[in-house]
């Protein structure tokens, strides 16, 4: 998936990996980022409607992101192994939707898959395209625990920068003029 924008097939599904959530890991994440009692304290969590410790939704999200980044890195390795130049994945402009469908409990094994549902060339950033991805996370019983509609940037291989833009870019690289231009456009 660290492929050029042109090489990313719409409709293709990638298995990102399976993660086992342990109690210490759930508590460690919650301590730093989401210190609510049902993410933090197994005893106190028994009083909640969950009936026990559950992972923070953002923990499930963050682990899924980690597996996606690892999958991109592995794909980059694979392409280099074939003697091909891999594409470039950029940062994400946002996420349309993230839904927590069922709690993730200690000992659960969660499998993440990514399906590319659409793509288009970016209007705002020349040379880049946008990928629309559906992420699904399913536990060991086959229950959907989390799904998301993600958006990511991917670089175009066949992009020719217009002369005007190339000239602007060259000018911004001159030290003094570059600073002036950066101040005016920034």
């Amino acid at each position: 998936m660290t492929r050029w924008y042109e090489d990313v097939p719409v409709g293709e599904t990638f298995t990102l990996g399976t993660h086992e959530f342990t109690a210490p890991e759930i508590v460690r994440f919650a301590t730093r980022y989401d210190p609510q009692y049902f993410h933090l304290d197994p005893e106190a969590a028994r009083h909640s409607h969950f009936g026990g410790l559950v992972a923070s939704g953002w923990h499930t999200v963050s682990i899924g992101h980690r597996y996606m980044v690892d999958t991109l890195a592995a794909e980059e390795e694979r392409l280099r192994g074939l003697g091909q130049e891999p594409g470039i994945s950029g940062p994400s402009p946002g996420v349309n939707k993230m839904e927590f469908k069922a709690p993730v409990r200690p000992g659960d094994s969660v499998t993440y898959t990514l399906n590319v549902t659409g793509k288009r060339v970016s209007n705002s950033i020349p040379g880049w395209g946008l990928l629309f991805n559906d992420l699904e996370a399913v536990n060991q019983r086959g229950e959907l625990v989390y799904r998301a509609e993600l958006v990511g940037f991917s670089k175009l291989r066949d992009y020719k920068m217009p002369l005007r833009l190339r000239l602007m870019l060259a000018l911004t690289r001159l030290p003094i003029l570059g600073n002036v231009l950066a101040k005016r456009t920034g």
């Binding site: 730093r32 980022y33 989401d34 210190p35 609510q36 009692y37 049902f38 106190a44 009083h47 909640s48 409607h49 969950f50 559950v54 923070s56 939704g57 953002w58 999200v61 963050s62 682990i63 992101h65 980690r66 980044v69 690892d70 890195a73 994945s89 950029g90 940062p91 994400s92 402009p93 946002g94 996420v95 349309n96 939707k97 993230m98 839904e99 927590f100 709690p103 950033i125 880049w128 940037f153």
Partner: protein, 163 residues
């Protein structure tokens, strides 16, 4: 009665339009590297040279980290003071500009929707808009959280209700 949440604010105590200031936080190089190593090991979050060459133009926090830090501020200022029952999801998450190393982020939560679940009358569904800014007051993240807060005095289940 849940002894953990008995003395906290419940669904009935919340009002649409309530604004909660979540405070601020400096995002350091160490914080960026720590989060990126574990959850977002793209080179542009782990390496200053790779960051300069990327769309971000310099070392920046993972957007997932900005959200995690915002969630932390929301927990400290709001969720741990109400009878929270967890999150249902997030929507319209936008990162209009990156959080660069050394930036101070501050966040505001606004309660924009309150309704009782029809199938679970003991659950109040709260919609919260989160807005995060940097020290120049530029927006760096917005997102909408849907979460559940205990209803203190639940009514009967509505007929034919799904959610």
């Amino acid at each position: 009665m849940n002894p953990i949440t008995a003395n906290r604010r419940h669904f009935e105590d919340l009002r649409v339009g309530e604004i909660i200031e979540l405070g601020d936080m400096v995002v350091t190089r160490e914080m960026i590297f720590e989060f990126a190593r574990e959850f977002d090991p793209f080179p542009f979050h782990l390496d200053e040279d790779a960051a300069k060459a990327s769309l971000l133009g310099g070392l920046a926090a993972s957007g997932f980290q900005t959200a995690a830090l915002t969630l932390r501020m929301l927990g400290d200022s709001f969720l741990n003071h109400v009878a929270s029952m967890g999150g249902l999801g997030f929507a319209d998450l936008k990162w209009p500009r990156p959080v660069m190393v050394g930036d101070t982020i501050s966040a505001t939560a606004t309660l924009v929707g309150l309704r009782v679940s029809r199938s679970h009358p003991e659950r109040g569904i709260v919609t919260t808009d989160l807005a995060v800014r940097n020290q120049k007051a530029e927006p760096v993240m917005t997102m909408r959280l849907t979460s559940i807060v205990e209803v203190r005095h639940p009514g009967p289940v509505s007929d034919g209700a799904a959610a």
